[in-house]
């Protein structure tokens, strides 16, 4: 598998860049959670200043190459484009990819490390939030060490997004760029396993927690042990594609973007029939509308108001997924109508593989460190500081409100870095008095 969209050719990029009106105080920039100055970077593509274009992007969004690929641009920049109403919005995402690819493919670094401040910051978790925070702090001259439990950095950008949308190399190139800013990334280091909290607190002037979320929760149905975890399914498709076992008839449980990704790779890697089951209706599904449209075009089938109740199997092999029809009842805690089983409506979806992608567990580190939480997520104040002074957090692990996304994680990492910097600089000034 390779990226769904081919890169823009030089000609396509210039034509598209010239189509941009160069709005003033542009709505695309407002809509972008990291507020990249989009007309400016696009104008630089039009003038042939590609390094300047990439710098404009990366100044606001250090993970601009990932975001160019995985951002739900239809809901953000491109959705706000003034040309969208009666015309086609500018292909902002693909232009951003064009400019950032230009510098990564040529090994051009657009930033330098700042003059050393002597301050040390630990970042826990090398996903987009952590790498952004680390990179921004390094640009400001702080000495940063990132501890990452996995073998490779850049979190879900590396492991959790199908190659069709983002190849592994793109995610790793971003981590390498952060390394070249002087950031030390120590992999296979996990808090509470081979990294002690005391050590972190004692050796660093500030800490940023960007630990993401946990594993896929349990459905609590018989035969669940035979179900494949959606995130591992995607990870295998990226890291060891030849080892990925794809069924002939695959059922994916869930209707979020990860579920769509799982269904997409199953379909593309040979499944004859892929069905997504979701206990609510298409109105409540959390996948973006453009992802849903994409999935339908891929030939993926949908069974709404359907809840799995048992995995049927014979001799260790799945033969079907027993489900029950649902109906929508009164609103539940999330404000959405609660689905209720329709008595006696059980039926079996024949299949030989079941994948579940129904969200992730809340971050376990909150409990480990005794942090205050909000709906199970780490609670932070306006400055991204947790209930422990000097300990900050950002990314999916604090996303109690709104939907988790790479670009929101980047913005958290950036704003937290600035907050940490203000704290450390205040300390330096106090020391100088």
């Amino acid at each position: 598998m390779s990226e769904y969209h081919p890169p823009l050719t030089d000609h396509e990029a210039v034509v598209e860049a010239n189509r941009c009106l160069y709005c003033y105080d542009a709505p695309c920039t407002h809509a972008c959670p990291t507020h990249i100055d989009i007309p400016r970077f696009i104008k630089k593509i039009a003038t042939g200043n590609l390094v300047g274009s990439a710098r404009t992007i990366l100044e606001s969004n250090l993970m601009g190459a990932s975001c160019a690929r995985v951002c739900p641009v239809e809901e953000l920049c491109e959705g706000a484009c003034v040309l969208g109403a009666e015309h086609k919005p500018i292909m902002i995402g693909r232009l951003q990819r064009y400019a950032t690819d230009y510098v990564y493919q040529r090994g051009i670094d657009v930033f330098k490390p700042g003059a050393p401040t002597g301050k040390k910051v630990a970042v826990i978790g090398a996903g987009p939030a952590g790498l952004t925070c680390a990179g921004e702090l390094a640009k400001l001259g702080h000495s940063v060490t990132v501890f990452e439990k996995r073998e490779l950095p850049n979190g879900l950008s590396t492991y959790g997004i199908i190659v069709l949308r983002e190849p592994v190399e793109v995610a790793l190139a971003e981590a390498e760029m952060v390394r070249r800013l002087g950031v030390e990334i120590k992999t296979q280091m996990e808090l509470g396993r081979n990294l002690s909290w005391e050590e972190v607190r004692n050796n660093y002037d500030a800490v940023f927690l960007s630990v993401g979320l946990g594993s896929v929760p349990q459905l609590g149905i018989p035969g669940e042990e035979l179900i494949v975890d959606g995130l591992s399914y995607i990870e295998t498709s990226k890291m060891n594609p030849s080892a990925l076992q794809v069924g002939r008839e695959v059922v994916v449980i869930g209707a979020g973007n990860t579920a769509v990704d799982c269904a997409t790779i199953a379909k593309r890697l040979g499944a004859e029939r892929v069905t997504m089951v979701y206990r609510r209706t298409e109105k409540e599904m959390t996948a973006y509308p453009h992802e849903y449209e994409f999935a339908k075009k891929e030939g993926i089938e949908f069974r709404f108001l359907t809840q799995p109740v048992e995995v049927l199997h014979e001799g260790g092999k799945i033969t079907g997924l027993k489900c029950v029809r649902m109906q929508l009842g009164a609103p539940d805690a999330s404000g959405r109508p609660a689905p209720e089983p329709v008595p006696g409506s059980e039926f079996v979806l024949p299949c030989d593989q079941v994948v579940k992608a129904i969200g992730q567990e809340k971050p376990a580190v909150a409990k480990l460190l005794g942090l205050e939480t909000e709906k199970g997520f780490i609670k932070v104040n306006h400055e991204f500081e947790t209930s422990l002074p000097g300990v900050y957090a950002g990314g999916d692990c604090i996303r109690a409100k709104g939907s988790a996304s790479t670009v929101m994680a980047v913005q958290d990492g950036k704003l937290a870095a600035f907050a940490i910097h203000r704290r450390l600089v205040a300390g330096l000034e106090a020391a100088a008095d």
Binding site: L21, D25, H30, A31
Partner: protein
Amino acid sequence: MADLSINFAGIKSPNPFWLASAPPTNSGAQIHRAFEYGWGGAVWKTIGAPVLNVSNRYGAWHYGGQKMLAINNVELISDRPLEVNLREIRDVKRHWPDRAVIVSAMVESTPEAWRDIILKIEDTGADGIELNYGCPHGMSERGMGSAVGQVPEYCQQITQWVMDVAKIPVIVKLTPNVASVVPPARAALAAGANALSLINTINSIIGVDLDTLEIIPNIGGKGGHGGYAGPAVKPIALNLLSSLGVDPVVKQSGVPISGMGGISTWRDAAEFLLLGATSLQVCTAVMHYGYRIIEDLIDGLNAWMDAKGFKTIADVVGKSLPRISDFKDFDLSFRAVARINPDKCIRCNLCYVACNDTAHQCIDLVDASGNLVQPYSYDVRSNGKHEAVSTRPQPVVREEDCVGCRLCHNVCPVDGCIEMVELPSGRPSITWDELTKVRPEVGTDWEAMQRYREEVGIEIH
């Protein structure tokens, strides 16, 4: 269907569109093809003195992703043997009796040389002759082309030599590389020229290659000035054309003018006709897209003439000339202000930044509740298309402060969104000429000007 045929100083053509003397009219085979596409006439690429050409010959100016808004060239007149050209001219004319075949000529400045070439051209059966007094490069270094066109006396002398011999209509082609085209035009008319044509190309250096630092186009490491043409020169051509149209001597002579300089579409063509051209010559647009563009030139012009009720080309020629005026005769009391239609506005804010940075600071950004909003004032933690679109302010013109400069109208990307609306100024109509006749001091003394402004209620912010 309007009648597009013209009779240009006795040269007849089924439509006013002629290929200008240039690479598109280099050979008989090309002109045969052009006539098959429907061109009404062709001015053969200049024949005359022997030349050698160089490469590269054409530079181009591209802007905003648009290719070839202008071209420039250092190509000389025809480098094909004279006899070959003459034979092909004869052949083309024999095949296309209804089309205008005009031959452009340029030879060294002696009566013998001119007499010789005119007789040779007439012998082909061509309909007319165009005297090339315009080439700004190469030939001018040899005392031909614009070296003639820039000096009215030379212009008159050579035209005289030609008129002494010529039995077919003679068109004098003028160079724009002068302070005014009127003196050379009058000189040509004084010598008895049957018609004028303009503009030839404008002297130019198209650019510098930023990789090699070479001049574009690069000729063995060197480069130099060349003739500039194409869509970008149209406004200059229209000005020079109208300067002939309003000149009493030219007007009095009644000679027709062949207009050219950036004509690419029927719209351009109609503007040239309205400002006094009878026939229209096209080059760069054809060099960009080929002869096929004649189809819409004719079709579009026809449709426009039908819509406007013009039955013949003569009905259109010079129709807008009476509106050409000098600044001193403009009505100082005429008032227009910009008005933005919020239903059409896409809120790109290009009008706002243009007005605020570079014009008269009279466009405000206003939110849904009518409050003034400063640009970039949203919370950095807000995002998403709904937030960005729903909170986006609307640009609104403060009409009382608008000077009617029309910049916003010009930058607005949406047709019909920003209209210039005529409002009563409350002042009686008066021109600068009239004002300074009765109150000459306002033109020399700022205090007198201030008193006048206060009197009539002109407030400058």
